[in-house]
Symmetry: C2
Subunit: 371 residues, 2 copies
C-alpha cells in the first residue's frame, strides 16, 4: 500500500480522520469485496452482497449503542442541515403549525430552530447567545410549551465546543413531548439513554467518517406523523418500511461506516471510546487551563465538549505562525471555524491519544518560543 | 494491489461497474491524497485540498457535456427518488398547485408523476402503459397544458429499457414551459442539447458510479421559484449560492465521480462514449433479433435503450440455469428488475466491448445447449 507512515494527525471537525485500519481495509477491498468480483461501490444495493454489508452495519451499530427494539435505525442522506427540515416535516404533523421548542446552545441548534420555523411554530426554549455561548442553559430554566410536537437539542455543538454529558430528562421537567437530539459530532463516544429519546440523528462525517450518510434512530410510535409535503424519500415511515432502501442508499458510505463500527467494537466498544474521550480531552483542557494564559478555552467547565475543543491564542497575531508550525509538525486542520476564529482541535474516536500528546507538545514548544 | 485479474463483467443496473483504473487510483490514494497526509474521505470540505477536487470535477463535467454558462452545476444528495420531490418543490412555485406535465414512459417517470402530485397539479401528458411500455409516445400526441410550471421526461428508463435519442423540443410543440429531464442512467453517454433543457438531473450511481450523489444542472432563470416548504438543503438557489457546500457534500462520491469524468475525457470524451454505446448495444440487440426466438427484447426499435437491455428467454423455466451459468462464466448481475422479470444487461460507459462480446458468446452457447 502506498502511504507514508506514520501519517500526520488530522484535527478536522468533519469530514474527519478515520482509523487507519479502516482505510487500509477499504483500499484492499476496492476492486473485489470478499472474492465476489465486484468492489462495494459497484454492487447493486439489492444484491445479497450489499444486503449483508448493510445488515451487518445495522446490527453492529445496534449492539454498540444498545439500541432498543422499539427504535428503527435508518440510513439516510442530506446531513444535519437536511435533517433540520426532515425532522419537522416528519414530527410537526399531521397538521402544519405544530409547536416545536428548540434549546439554543450554539450555531447548530440555532440553524435547527431557523429551519423548523418553515414548518412549525418553532421557538427557542432557552438560549446561551447572551452569555457568548459559554454554557448550556440549565434544563430547569427551559421554557417548554405544553403539547409541543417535540423538543430539539444539539447534544454536542461542533462549532462552539459545548457538549451535554447526557440527554436531558424531559419527563423530570414535567414535559411529555418527545426529545429530538442532534448527536452528529459525539455519537459513539458515549452511551445514549434511549428512555429519554424520541429521535436521535447524526451526520456520519464527524465521529464516524464518510460524508453523505445520516444515521437516524426513530422511536416506533413517532412514525406516521409526517406532513403531507414531506418527500417520500425523507419520510421516516417510508424509509423504515423499506429498510433504508426506498431509494438507493449511499452504499459506499454505509460500508465504510460499518468498518468503523467494527473497529470501535474491536477497540472495546463505546465504553472504551468514552474512556479515551475523557483522557484525550482532559489532556488538552488541563494544559489550556494551566498554561498561564498563552492559550485559553472560553467554555464553562461543565459544558466543555470532549470532541471539539476551540481555543484561542492570547496574542492572535501569532495565529498564522501557530498554524504553519503545526502543519510542519504534522498537526493538520487546526484552524477554528470562521464564525468563532482562533483554533479548534477535534478529538473524535479515530484520533489517537498520541495525536493529542503531539498537539500539546507542540503547543508547549510554541508558547515557550513566543511567550 | 490485491485483486484477481481479469475481473468478472458486472451488468448491474446501478450501483454499477466502475472503470478499473478509477478503482485502482482510489485505492492507491485512500490513505494519502497527493501527499497531503489525508485521505479524501478525511478532508474538510472547506479545505483547499477538497475544494480543488470539487472544482476540478465540476470543470471536467462542464467540459465533457459542454454545459453553457447559464446553467449551474449542483452536487446534491437523495438520488432520483429524492429529486422527484425536490424538482416540484423548486419549480412548481412560488405558489403551491402549479401545473406539471409528466410524460410517462416507464417505471421511473411514473414515480416522478406520483411524487409531483404532492406539490402540484401534476398529470400524465402521455403514457405508454397501455402498450406495455414498448414505445415512447410521439411528442406530437403529448397533452401539454398552457402555463405548466414544467414538463418532465425520463430520457432513459432504466427498468423498462427505453431511451429518448434526444431531448424533446418543447418549443417546436408550441410549449413554452421548461423541460425537466431525468437522465440518471444515460448521462455522459451522449450529448445534451441544452437549448431544450431547463433542469437536467442524474443520480450518479448508474452511469457514473458512486451512490449518494445527484448531479443537477439548473438553468439560471429557474432559480428563486422554490415553494416556502422546500428545505434549505434542497433549494436549488441556496445550493447554487453556496457552490454545493451549503451542507457537507458527499465528498468521497464527488471525488470518485471526478475520477470517472477524467477517465471519460481520457477515453475520448462523450463522443467516444456515444460511439461505444452504439457499438455495444448493437452487438446485443442484433443477436437478440437474430437468435431465432430463444431470447427476445420487447421494446420498439426506435425506443430501445443503449444503456439498459431487458431481455427474456423464450422458455422462462431456464432462467435460473441461465443466471447460474452466467455467474460461472464471470457475467454478474444479469437478473431483470423484479417488476419486469427476465434478464437485464446494463451497458454503461464502464462496461467494455469485451464484456458484451462475452455476454453474447455465453448467450449463444446457452441457446445451443438448451435450444
Amino acid at each position: 500500500m502506498p502511504t507514508a507512515n506514520p501519517r500526520p494527525f488530522n484535527f478536522s471537525a468533519g469530514p474527519a480522520t478515520l482509523p487507519e485500519p479502516v482505510l487500509r481495509q477499504a483500499a484492499e477491498e476496492m476492486l473485489d469485496w470478499h472474492g465476489c468480483g465486484m468492489g462495494v461501490m459497484e454492487m447493486s444495493h439489492r444484491g445479497k452482497e450489499f444486503i449483508s454489508i448493510h445488515e451487518q452495519a445495522v446490527a453492529t451499530l445496534r449492539e454498540l449503542l444498545a439500541v432498543p427494539s422499539n427504535f428503527h435505525v435508518l440510513f439516510m442522506q442530506g446531513g444535519g442541515l437536511g435533517e433540520n427540515a426532515i425532522v419537522p416535516m416528519n414530527l410537526a404533523g399531521p397538521q402544519p403549525g405544530g409547536l416545536v421548542d428548540v434549546v439554543v446552545t450554539g450555531s447548530w441548534s440555532k440553524k435547527s430552530l431557523a429551519e423548523a420555523q418553515r414548518y412549525a411554530d418553532a421557538r427557542a426554549a432557552a438560549s446561551n447567545d447572551a452569555d457568548g455561548r459559554s454554557a448550556i442553559p440549565a434544563p430547569g430554566t427551559w421554557q417548554l410549551r405544553e403539547g409541543a410536537a417535540y423538543v430539539h437539542v444539539c447534544s454536542n455543538e461542533t462549532i462552539d465546543g459545548l457538549e451535554m454529558a447526557e440527554l436531558p430528562d424531559l419527563a423530570a421537567l414535567g414535559c411529555r413531548s418527545p426529545l429530538v437530539a442532534d448527536c452528529s459530532s459525539h455519537i459513539l463516544s458515549r452511551t445514549i439513554d434511549w428512555s429519554r429519546a424520541g429521535v436521535v440523528f447524526a451526520g456520519a462525517q464527524k465521529n464516524i467518517g464518510p460524508a453523505g450518510l445520516t444515521l437516524v434512530f426513530v422511536r416506533d410510535d413517532l412514525l406516521g406523523r409526517a406532513l403531507p409535503i414531506c418527500p417520500s424519500a425523507f419520510d421516516y415511515s417510508v424509509v423504515a418500511a423499506h429498510g433504508s432502501m426506498f431509494n438507493t442508499p449511499p452504499t459506499y458510505a454505509i460500508y465504510v461506516a460499518g468498518l468503523v463500527f467494527e473497529w470501535v467494537k474491536a477497540q472495546g466498544g463505546v465504553a472504551e471510546m468514552d474512556r479515551r474521550a475523557a483522557e484525550k480531552s482532559a489532556l488538552l483542557y488541563n494544559y489550556l487551563d494551566d498554561c498561564g494564559g498563552f492559550y485559553r478555552n472560553r467554555v464553562a467547565l461543565t459544558a466543555r465538549s470532549r470532541m471539539n475543543v476551540p481555543f484561542f491564542l492570547h496574542n492572535e497575531s501569532l495565529n498564522d505562525a501557530f498554524l504553519a508550525g503545526a502543519r510542519e509538525a504534522g498537526l493538520l486542520q487546526l484552524k477554528g471555524h470562521k464564525s468563532v476564529g482562533g483554533m479548534r482541535a477535534s478529538l473524535y474516536n479515530a484520533m489517537p491519544l498520541a495525536g493529542v500528546q503531539a498537539l500539546v507538545g507542540y503547543m508547549k514548544d510554541f508558547a515557550r518560543r513566543h511567550g
